[in-house]
Structure formats: structure tokens, C-alpha cells
Symmetry: C2
Subunit: 292 residues, 2 copies
């Protein structure tokens, strides 16, 4: 039997942790949510989940949920990367940003916690893998190069890798999908493939984008990886079943969820806020071709 921890001493039965999921239709979140649920139950808390659409205001939803459910702590699963102190003021309980950070924001780092991958660094690793396979004309499919969010960070990592390999970035190879959904990515990638622009590889900032692009290329009569290589970040379950299997940097989805709960329960027991960066694992599928 483990000793009663500090956490058990301060917690009363029925204490509740809230999770606000922004973009509930994103298949990336499902295993993270499952891991959070299990960890919250194991820690003896009850759980309140609120799911909102990708464009909605997670802080307002979190503040409402916190009041309605008298929460002790909050996990934000997906959200903006540019919170100000004023933005988070309505959240008067400890919170953890899970799968994202506040890289473009101004909230003091000791006022909240986070657990995520290092988006810029992992994107650099992804694109470096492509340059090491001999690719020099590498397109990027993203939401936007200047969204002060995940897309901008991964774009910066893309630029880092190009610089490292001595490749001049070509603005012609930027594909901004904007809507952040598969239909938009499909359309933009298809139009790009038909434009005649010269490229040999596509870095998609998310698996869903990569899967949509693979379909768009196929529908234009192009083959993966013979005509174009495709690589992305995330490693959702479905990416194991694309044809060919998607080559991806796989996020530690369950670990992200478990760590978020661990940090939050530590903070609720009096610990300090902290920021954890987890690493991805390269899964070599069949979508990247060596051309060197």
C-alpha cells in the first residue's frame, strides 16, 4: 500500500477536474482524452468534459465550466498559443495547457502549466528527415504561416531545417489551408499539385492534412511516394491504415494526457506550475522516398 500522499490529504471526495477540448472532431484528441479520463479516475477525482468547436473560445468555455461544476483544476486540450494575463484572468483555478503551449503569449510561466511537444523543434526534425532523404524542393501544407499558433511554430521549424540544409525557402512552396479541416486541405493540396510548381516532398503539419493531400494527389493521377513524398506530425491511429502507411513523427498521445493530469494534481496538492516537453518518435511508413 502506498503512503497517503500530500494530494490525498488536501483532496475531498468528489473534487472535480475539468477538461475543455477545443476541436472535438480532431481524431488526434481521442486517445489523449481517454488517457486523461483514466488518470483522473486513478487520482480519485471526478471529471467534467466540455467539447467546443475548433474556432471557439476555450477560455470562456473553461470559465463557465469551472463555475458550473465548481472545479478544482482545469486541463485545456487544444487552444490558442497567445494568451495574455487579461485573457486568463477569468480562470481562477490552476490550469494546464495540454498538447499546446503559450509561445506567442505573455502569461508568466509560473501562472500555469503545460505539457506538449516542442512544435518548432519537431517540425525541424521532420523536415530534416526529408532533406536527409535528398529532398530540396519541399512544400509545406499548413493552416497559416502567421497564425500565432501551432501552424506558425511548425512553419518556423520547417524554415530552420531548410536553413540547416542550405536551402533557400521558396514562398511558392507554402500551401496555406486556412480552414484547418480536411476538406480545405484536400482542395488546396489538389490545386497546388495541378499548378505545375516543382517540388518532390510535402511536409504536412498534421496527419489529417497529409491524408487529405495524399487523396488530392491521387485524384490528380499522382503517386505517393514515386511522384511526391509526404511526411507529417501526429501519428493518429488512422494514419496506420493509409495506403501507403503515412510516415510520421508520432506524438506520445497517452503520455501527454497522463502528464497533464499528473502536473495538475501535483499543483492542486501545493506543487509549483511546470512546463514539460515530450518528444515524438519517427515512424517510417511508405510515403517518403530517398532521392539522393
Amino acid at each position: 500500500m502506498p503512503n497517503a500522499s500530500a494530494r490525498d490529504l488536501v483532496k475531498t471526495a468528489g473534487d472535480s477536474i475539468g477538461v475543455v477540448v477545443r476541436g472535438a472532431e480532431n481524431p488526434f484528441f481521442a486517445p489523449v482524452i481517454s488517457a486523461i479520463e483514466q488518470a483522473v479516475e486513478d487520482a480519485g477525482y471526478t471529471l467534467s468534459i466540455r467539447q467546443i468547436k475548433a474556432g471557439e473560445d476555450e477560455l470562456a468555455a473553461a470559465a463557465r465550466l469551472s463555475r458550473a461544476k465548481k472545479l478544482k483544476g482545469l486541463i485545456l486540450l487544444g487552444g490558442r498559443f497567445d494568451y495574455t494575463k487579461e485573457d486568463v484572468a477569468p480562470i481562477d483555478i490552476p490550469f494546464v495547457c495540454c498538447t499546446f503551449t503559450n509561445d506567442f503569449g505573455t502569461v508568466e510561466s509560473d501562472a500555469y502549466s503545460s505539457v506538449s511537444i516542442d512544435d518548432r523543434e519537431e517540425a525541424r526534425r521532420a523536415v530534416r528527415y526529408l532533406t536527409e532523404c535528398g529532398h530540396r524542393r519541399i512544400a509545406i501544407l499548413m493552416d497559416s504561416a502567421s497564425d500565432r499558433s501551432i501552424s506558425e511554430l511548425r512553419y518556423k521549424g520547417y524554415l530552420d531545417a531548410l536553413a540547416e540544409a542550405g536551402i533557400e525557402p521558396d514562398p511558392d512552396l507554402l500551401i496555406e489551408s486556412v480552414e484547418f479541416n480536411m476538406a480545405g486541405a484536400y482542395e488546396k493540396a489538389g490545386r497546388f499539385a495541378a499548378s505545375g510548381k516543382q517540388f518532390t516532398a510535402l511536409f504536412a503539419i498534421a496527419d489529417t492534412f497529409a491524408i487529405a493531400a495524399m487523396k488530392a494527389f491521387h485524384d490528380k493521377g499522382l503517386r505517393i511516394p514515386e511522384d511526391y513524398s509526404v511526411l507529417s506530425i501526429d501519428g493518429i491511429n488512422m494514419s496506420l491504415y493509409t495506403i501507403p502507411t503515412l510516415t510520421a513523427l508520432v506524438q506520445p498521445k497517452e503520455e501527454l494526457g497522463r502528464e497533464a493530469v499528473k502536473i495538475l494534481t501535483d499543483v492542486l496538492a501545493g506543487g509549483a506550475h511546470r512546463h514539460i516537453r515530450l518528444q515524438t518518435t519517427l515512424r517510417e511508413g511508405g510515403t517518403v522516398r530517398k532521392i539522393s
Copy 2:
């Protein structure tokens, strides 16, 4: 301005509706949940969501959630098809089965509500589409032929369609995946394709199974639809991006969610329980070949 409805008169601010999602990693549920959330908000209720694993006990989870959150009503999103009166006794508030029915159970139909497709009838329609395309050797990929659940219902619909077309069912063409996950379906479908059994089409009882089978066939060097046709029921978003696009009977996912909330709020306002069957829509993708 609409008149105040009976619902508004009996409801007090903060009244809460609960949703227990069984099998939260099933991508089919995401748009249903989103529709439920929107409809619950529009109806002026608050929402409590509890997600459990596919094999877990949704009734126990629902009873706990109901007590913890003092719910007025419940939506079960996914669950067993064989409730007895004793099974549901712990649920002392009105509930709606959403996306499933109680076809194998004994609960009186006026004691609960449901909204779903007619699984047996839709499976019959699906397989009839295959027989009309000239297929007579049709395999079925399912959970189990006797699970007293969705798999057994859709299997019966498969048998109905074969009987209609004068085709003797062949036990050799039953593929029981059992685990009800993509990894299991991939493995069983691959082994089946390698077994040398003669068939021209596969009816998968869910899109996720179909996508896993397409991958398994591809990995054995087989082509869809040249070597085998594939058809399924569900129409998840991802099935638009398979290569080729999956031919599927598409469930009205958002409507299932909206109807569940409408029925429940009507019952909470004093209305009688009711059972609604919605229809699927055939989406012709590229996975079924005419061979007649």
C-alpha cells in the same frame, strides 16, 4: 419570438443532461457528440459528458454520472442491445439510446426512448446493393455473428439480402474480428484474403473495419475494387479520403444527435417515450465494382 414551450415552463436554470459515450475512440461518434452539444445548449440545458471504453458498462457509468451531477435526463451514445428491466433499474431518470436500440432486450418500449438507424434493414440494403452489382460470393467482416448487438443485427441483414437474391450463405465467408478495433479487423481480413477462399466482395459492418480491410488487402498485393469490392455502413469523415473513396451507407450523424436531444427534452417536458428510426444515404465511392 417563439412562445414559451411546456419545456421552458418546467425547466429551471442549470438543469443538466448527461451523455455517456461508450467507445470514445470511435470516430463515428465525434460529429454525433458535437450535434448533441449544440442541441443541448440551444435547449437551455447544461451538459455533462462521460466517456468510457468500448467494453465498459455504460449503465453503471450513467447511474454514477446521474447521481454525481444531479442529471434530469440521459443520452447513452453507444451501448448494449440487450438491457433487461433489472439492468436499467439504477437509471431513475429518462434516457435515450442514441445510435443503438434494445432489439435483444426486454425493457418495455415505453420505459425509454431511442433514435438509430434500423441496423438489420440497412445491412440488407447494403448487401442488396452488392448483389445488384452482380456479387454472389460476399464475405462479411464483423465483430461476431452472435453478439446480441449491432454485429448480429447487421449479420442478419446480410443473410436477409442473400436470401432475397437466392444465394446460399457460406459459413466460410464469415470473418469475425471480435476485438472491434482496427488492428483486429486488419489482421483477420488479411488472414482471410490469404486463405484462398473465393469471394468477390466484402461487406464490412463499420467504416473502420472496411478501412482496415482495404489496407490488409493492399498489403497482400490485392486491389480494390479490381480484385475485391468493399462496402460498409457509417460514412465517417475519414472514409472520404481513403483510396479509392469508400462506398458506404452514410448514417445521418448530426441528425441522430439532434433527435436524441429533441426526444429527451420532450420527455422531460412530460411527453411520452418514443423510438425513431432514421435512414442512411448511399454514397457511391470507388470501392464497389459491377461484375454482372
